[in-house]
Subunit: 181 residues, 4 copies
Amino acid sequence: MSICVLYGGNRIDGNTETITKKVIQELNVEEIYLIDYRIEPIVDKRHAPEGFPEVHDDYNAIIERILPHQVLIFSTPIYWYSMTSVMKSFIDRWSQTSRDANYPNFKKIMAEKKAYVIAVGGDNPYIKGLPMIQQFQHIFDFIGAEFSGYIIGEGNKPGEINNDLNALHAAEQLREKLRNS
Amino acid sequence: MSICVLYGGNRIDGNTETITKKVIQELNVEEIYLIDYRIEPIVDKRHAPEGFPEVHDDYNAIIERILPHQVLIFSTPIYWYSMTSVMKSFIDRWSQTSRDANYPNFKKIMAEKKAYVIAVGGDNPYIKGLPMIQQFQHIFDFIGAEFSGYIIGEGNKPGEINNDLNALHAAEQLREKLRNS
Amino acid sequence: MSICVLYGGNRIDGNTETITKKVIQELNVEEIYLIDYRIEPIVDKRHAPEGFPEVHDDYNAIIERILPHQVLIFSTPIYWYSMTSVMKSFIDRWSQTSRDANYPNFKKIMAEKKAYVIAVGGDNPYIKGLPMIQQFQHIFDFIGAEFSGYIIGEGNKPGEINNDLNALHAAEQLREKLRNS
Amino acid sequence: MSICVLYGGNRIDGNTETITKKVIQELNVEEIYLIDYRIEPIVDKRHAPEGFPEVHDDYNAIIERILPHQVLIFSTPIYWYSMTSVMKSFIDRWSQTSRDANYPNFKKIMAEKKAYVIAVGGDNPYIKGLPMIQQFQHIFDFIGAEFSGYIIGEGNKPGEINNDLNALHAAEQLREKLRNS
């Protein structure tokens, strides 16, 4: 299966990126660091007569890159108890793409994908990260994608994720699963 | 009590704004429409030796405006099952302000505030909006503010919130509470 | 529509019963106080060759009474952050009834019902009662019933629910809805 | 540390018991199978002038057995998306013990304990078991115990838990942690 990772991290070499790299090592993966791109917040014109305007940013180029893949990995620190604003900006814009004549099959294509979430947090993520997991479940339900699994890890300072043996093992298991699929 | 409303809406006259206006009518309130400002996503430098750089956007000006108030109302559509990315960008930046020498008492001041959430969604918000409410609870717990109440409403097309009688009544109750506090 | 209330309360005239009575006043409703009956905990024989044994308690008689109704109202205090054990004992036994040759259409009949939850708690129920609401959503999803709405109220000592004006208003709204359906 | 396991399972050799046995193998542990005892549902007399009556069942004997231990493991199948009614009956009665003159230090003693949850479910437990984890968090917060960790596993038919490698690994990790504490 063809795999794409969307990194939502707000810093280089964060714990979430570290564990995600363990998941994808030696796999053929397309990696997208959302922080490197300009993604405007959505201006919601669903109910406006003129419809959505064209937005001159990098969003559509990222959409083009994720659409061909069968597996999407959403890799985000648990930031203020949900995904980062950069990743949220990206997902919010799906409301626009769903109505964009240039992507008539957007929802249909998204519905064929398998989605994973990898998330590391520093403040009791195994409890306080659960609402975010439930949010992702609702997101994937809406778009029709299969929520195939998630990894929660604990870490705050750079490298701390390496102390979370359960998360590391789950990363190894996910790598096996992706390699054999 | 002095009240500030933070609007996270992605469109003019959305349902969330409509019901929020009912809550604050005839009250003396400072209103901030986040979509009108440029708020950069955080670049997380908490663990970088150089620390956070100065960011040239409108974020600090908004912080200055909210700090004097005793009550903060977070008014956001339930967008992809959480707050909008605009509001999330604003909250994510609190990580920076918490370490900003220009705001040495940021957390202390925030901890004295009462916070409310007003949120309207179109896809079964009374169930699918609950993870967002839990997320806000964790946010306010972290910053030390009191989560004094929330209103969930249902609506999709403009004006539909006016059919949600429970939400309208809750808005009326909240208005009474704010007026008498 | 024909309505049945299942009371899970552990005491007489508790707050949950009080507000439920407001919902059903002047409506024609069958009321079942689970605490008045003997309901054995399930002994799970789903995977045992001999299957489930007959249980000599009041459970089946209650099932007979709820099956004819189109609306089920689950009225339970939020007790240790979920429904009471009496109500949980009742629901757990559905696993047995689902395989009981005497009730071959159990799931089909349950799937035609509309379900409501009325729940009052004393410890920040608007936040800490939310996992229970999510639990009920999963229960109704599994059995196929429609989760048509819920009321959360706050109260601890007898009568305190009368101070929760939002809950009382929601009760009034639900009564109107049931009366007109 | 002294460890006590409370089994809430409704059947012999269920998946939850299987994985719990892996956690405690070769450790010195007191095991209590709640299904083997008679635990009456609470009759809530917190606000009744006469107070709680003495209940002639096995509940207090179980309380006596758990109080001396420093670690409590709540081992329950995810049954209708929460703990079994047997375990819930046991916990509900804590409301009585908290006011029982024979156990004046009940809450103080409970507050010194570390609590773990081990839970296996058959219907997407990694998502649909999360409200139960949140319920346990609220329970332990109320009683003051530390929620030190949890394991969710997937399995339905007997033995299926052995296919959930992540859960098995987490069991092994927890065993190491308990052995060294």
